[in-house]
């Protein structure tokens, strides 16, 4: 429907001219411009066939435990198998499909029920559909004019997440990772503390100091360095035997920093530490922050999803007292990498003031719609993916109760595993988990009679890496191991996916026994 009809004096000559031009072929700079140079029919066929392969090789096999989790090849071997070279000419349709097959074959199946290696796992069909739609539409979430739907979706999701944190209102943005969310929070806290830093930088200023648990995510260090604060100005607070920040120690550290003449400005508490899955005592920490007028950021990238469960949300009791929260639905809620929100309690536009640059070519003030919808200037990014959308569609599909069931089930499975570990000889829990991280040693028969002492621990330290190597070469499962706080290598089993069931937990223990029995 044409809304404006050209009725000016030029109208009739315009039309004639146009008709004339359309008949002639045009060669410009050696390029013929008439038709497109891509064959969209062939292209669509390729997409359909590639998706068929995706469907058969990944999706349909996703919950099949008889399939391998990984098809291990050493790096140099894999380099030879995969034809990675990028050449001057293109390959045939069939060859390209074969390449897709190869990529799939040698990629780790993170949606396998026995992939326990990271803080993400499994597959959600609704999130996947949303991600497929995102790819097909290829939007960028900076302005309403270019991505109206996704901007409004992000707004709705942030609002909902804020509700679960317990704030009346607030602000937020989706970021490419929890590490980046933590950086945002650090910078925001710094900006609130001293807004001139945005223009003047840090040179010559008092030494800013921030506090975080010694169990915090390593992105705190990276953030401090990237933001120009410096890694030595991150003061690590001691944790208790359960991996939780000790509030009295925090108080001590803040006092120490004050005595040194530095400027404390931020405390980062962790709700769900990476290794142990520990939750810092937020209420007590918030008390200290209030007392000393420090910004409280809660890194709930991993543990935030417990807020959705009425049963388990008490783990984050006190979170509404935070000034900012990082929460990654792509972890426990299977939203798909990446889906990471930074939520901010302040509703006065602090986020925008801190980050905006008001670029005239993108955030024009004379647009024909309300430009307060152009939220992209709150971000450090320019183009940005619509990461909230996959979470939104999944939430629409499952409802809060569906998401809650997932969290509850994951933690129930973890509980089951813990009970089984206690029953079986050779397995030793590091600590009673309160979340989905189950940390344990497996002590092979040969070491069970050994005296507790340095030699025992040294030998035990070598068990996990060997078991890991064996499981990966077999392709039967994947779980992580690491040393932590003076303790030798132990396994960190993480339960997330709703595809996982009790028998996978039994299998886990059986398989470790099998792989380690001769060690």
């Amino acid at each position: 429907m044409t809304l404006w009809k050209c009725s000016g004096p030029c109208a009739s000559t315009c039309k004639q001219d146009v008709l004339q031009k359309k008949k002639n072929a045009v060669l410009v700079d050696g390029v013929i411009l008439n038709g497109p140079i891509t064959d969209s029919k062939a292209g669509e066929k390729f997409v359909e066939e590639a998706c068929k392969i995706i469907m058969e090789e990944i999706i349909q096999k996703a919950d099949d435990v008889t399939e391998k989790v990984c098809e291990w090849r050493a790096p140099e071997t894999l380099k030879k198998i995969l034809d990675l070279e990028m050449r001057d000419t293109g390959e045939s349709h069939q060859k390209l499909l074969q390449l897709c097959q190869d990529v799939i074959q040698y990629s780790v199946k993170t949606n396998h029920p026995r992939f326990f290696n990271q803080l993400y796992a499994g597959i959600d069909y609704y999130s996947l559909v949303a991600r497929f739609i995102t790819e097909a539409l290829n939007p960028s979430v900076y302005t309403y004019e270019v991505s109206p739907v996704f901007l409004l979706v992000e707004e709705a999701v942030i609002k909902k997440m804020i509700e679960f944190i317990g704030w009346e209102e607030g602000d937020g943005i989706f970021n490419p990772g929890g590490s980046v969310s933590n950086m945002y929070a650090m910078n925001l806290a710094r900006y609130k503390f001293c807004p001139e830093i945005k223009e003047k930088g840090l040179s010559g200023l008092p030494r800013l100091v921030l506090f975080t648990s010694e169990e915090c995510h390593y992105s705190m260090k990276k953030a401090a360095s990237f933001l120009g604060i410096g890694t030595e100005n991150v003061y690590f607070v001691k944790t208790d035997e359960r991996g939780k920040m000790i509030p009295e120690e925090l108080e001590k550290q803040v006092q120490r920093a004050r005595k040194e003449g530095s400027a404390p400005f931020l405390v980062c508490a962790t709700a769900g530490t990476t290794v142990l899955g520990a939750f810092d005592p937020l209420d007590k920490i918030a008390d200290i922050c209030e007392k000393h007028d420090l910004w409280l950021h809660v890194d709930a990238s991993w543990g935030g999803s417990a807020l959705i469960s009425r049963k388990h949300r008490r783990l984050l009791h006190g979170i509404q007292r935070a000034d900012s929260v990082a929460w990654n639905p792509h972890k426990m809620l299977l939203a798909g990498i990446q889906c990471c929100a930074l939520l901010v309690k302040d509703n006065s536009g602090l986020l925008k003031k801190c980050y905006s640059a008001k670029a005239a070519y993108l955030f024009q003030q004379d647009k024909f719609y309300d430009v307060s919808y152009d939220t992209g200037d709150k971000s450090i990014q320019c183009s940005r993916r619509p990461d909230a959308f996959k979470f939104w569609l999944m939430w629409k599909a499952l409802g809060t109760t569906g998401l809650e069931e997932r969290v509850n089930r994951a933690l129930a499975l973890a509980r089951y595993l813990v009970e089984e570990i206690k029953k079986r000889e050779g397995f030793q829990l590091l600590l009673e988990p309160e979340y989905a991280n189950v940390c344990f040693w497996y002590i092979p028969p040969s070491l069970r009679k050994m005296e507790d002492g340095p030699e025992f621990w040294q030998k035990l330290h070598r068990v996990a890496p060997v078991v890991k190597e064996r499981m990966m070469k077999k392709g039967s499962m994947m779980l992580g191991y690491q040393p932590n706080q003076g303790k030798v290598n132990f396994f960190r089993q993480v339960v997330i996916s709703p595809q996982v069931s009790r028998e996978d937990m039994d299998f886990l223990l059986d398989e470790i026994e099998l792989l380690a029995k001769d060690l």
């Binding site: 050696g30 411009l33 996703a62 004019e145 260090k221």
Partner: protein, 493 residues
């Protein structure tokens, strides 16, 4: 143990999920891929924000919805989204849809992994290295380092941080407060991420010196030299220059050779923000726009712009191959980068980044490259240039179109002067009146959904259009339509 019965079977209905996926895929194929690229369809279905909110029913509730309703939602999402793949979407520095890259992206989503270690992303760790090496080769380096970042803005920030670290390695631990006042330089036409980066990194936006550009939007090397001297005389420390290869608005290319000379003379890190213009390196005919780029210390290049691979695909390339990136960013987290793994941990490249989890951005570019080869990409780049030449020539022939400047890249900046304003250049209010034309035409085109093109003011210039063609699906008919449509929508203004 409560709920044990819940644990016996997977809690997911795989069959229903697959069915939904299949149905949704058909919807997406038809509504987004086919219709989205069809000129007979609209580029956008404009709705006011409050109206759209109502329509979409965004509220998240406690109960889920049936598959049928969800599919309807998918249709709505697609319907009201702007079709950036449409041949008449000229609004941003990206557009179009490549099917091979799309397949790569769908595959990336389904495999859903993070790029940090070889153990969980073996194929992609190796692939990323190959892709980065290829991009470096085109820059002119046969060694070096790099990583894919979530956007060119962040690539620029990486450059700033690495430059700071290289000059002052202690800054990593001690922070910037202990350093003298650091100053960086970029053209006044630079991307705003330079300012955002300076603020974010604790350098401060006041310490970003914007160097004057000439009438073609190119940084003036003599001005850069002057500013560096001035800053030094103030007792501050110049440490970083960002030259832009393909500025956002005008598509200008800073003269890299002379700029590199200045940097060399003063011992400054030279970063080239080629996020937009980097893809011209694929064209033997047009790569001279970036002559001298091999002298850079770092380069940002976003294939998701001109090469249609899909957001995001932003490479940060580093000439140094001594492990500078690792030293600058590495934290050696024991739970992820264990040194006692059973394979060579040099393949765990994730510690080079400031991210932890990171999307796989290399597959879509790699698959596209495999599909069309460097020659195919060169063809596309050349074609985009040719489209721009054609449009520029046509504009010169038509009344009312006035180029802001002769484009050297594919940003075609122009004013449309409606008949009522023609011949009135002398009037004092000509500028303001002309400035109202583009917004009005933009509103009309969006409400009709016939096409989308951006406009902006620039310096003292009133609003002008910035037309960008990147998609190889754009035909000459689309270009003619573009001109006709501007005329049609604007002739009565």
């Amino acid at each position: 143990m409560a709920e044990q019965s819940d644990l016996e079977r997977p809690a997911v209905d795989g069959a229903a999920g697959e069915e939904f996926l299949r149905a949704a895929f058909q919807v997406l194929l038809e509504e987004a891929v086919r219709k989205g690229t069809d000129v007979a369809q609209k580029v956008c279905e404009w709705k006011e924000p409050h109206e759209l909110r109502e329509l979409l029913d965004l509220e998240l509730r406690s109960h889920g919805e049936p598959a049928g309703r969800l599919l309807e939602r998918c249709r709505d999402i697609i319907r009201y989204s702007v079709k950036t793949c449409h041949p008449r979407f000229f609004n941003q520095l990206f557009s179009g849809l490549d099917h091979h890259a799309l397949a790569g992206r769908l595959l990336t989503e389904t495999l859903n992994t993070s790029q940090y270690t070889y153990e969980i992303a073996p194929v992609f760790v190796l692939m990323e290295e190959v892709v980065l090496a290829k991009l470096r080769e085109l820059v002119g380096w046969n060694s070096g380092d790099g990583i894919f970042c979530p956007g060119g803005s962040i690539s620029n920030m990486y450059a700033m941080n690495v430059a700071r670290f290289q000059r002052f390695p202690e800054s990593r631990q001690q922070g910037s407060r202990a350093l003298p006042r650091l100053v960086l330089f970029a053209s006044e036409e630079c991307h705003y991420s330079i300012q955002k980066g300076a603020a974010f990194l604790g350098i401060g936006t006041d310490n970003v010196v914007l160097v004057r550009a000439d009438e073609r939007g190119k940084m003036i090397p003599e001005e850069l030299e002057k500013e560096i001297e001035r800053v030094k005389s103030e007792g501050a420390v110049p440490f970083f220059v960002s030259a832009t290869s393909g500025t956002t608005v005008l598509g200008a290319f800073d003269p890299l050779g002379p700029v590199a000379d200045v940097c060399q003379r003063h011992g400054l890190w030279l970063h080239v923000d080629a996020a937009w213009g980097g893809s011209a390196l694929l064209s033997r005919k047009h790569r001279q726009l970036l002559a001298g780029i091999e002298r850079a210390d770092s380069v940002a290049w976003n294939p998701h712009k001109m090469l249609t691979v899909g957001l995001q695909c932003s490479a940060f390339l580093l000439r140094d191959d001594s492990g500078l990136l690792q030293r600058c960013h590495g934290a050696g987290a024991a739970y992820l980068f264990q040194p006692d793994k059973f394979y060579d941990v040099m393949f765990d490249t994730g510690d080079k980044t400031v991210q932890c989890g990171r999307r796989v951005d290399c597959l879509k570019l790699w698959l596209l490259w495999k599909a069309v080869g460097s020659e195919g990409l060169e063809q596309r780049v050349d074609r985009a240039f040719a489209c721009t030449s054609y449009l520029a020539a046509e504009m010169k022939r038509r009344d009312g179109f006035q180029l802001v400047l002769e484009p050297e890249f594919i940003n075609l900046c122009f004013w449309f002067v409606p008949p009522s304003l023609r011949g009135q250049q002398g009037c004092t209010d000509f500028g303001p009146r002309l400035g109202k034309v583009a917004p009005a035409i933009k509103e009309r085109m969006m409400k009709e959904g016939s096409m989308m093109v951006g406009y902006q003011p620039h310096g003292t210039r009133p609003n002008f259009f910035r037309q960008i063609v990147t998609s190889p699906a754009v035909t000459r008919a689309d270009l003619d339509f573009f001109l006709d449509e501007i005329e049609r929508l604007g002739c009565d203004l």
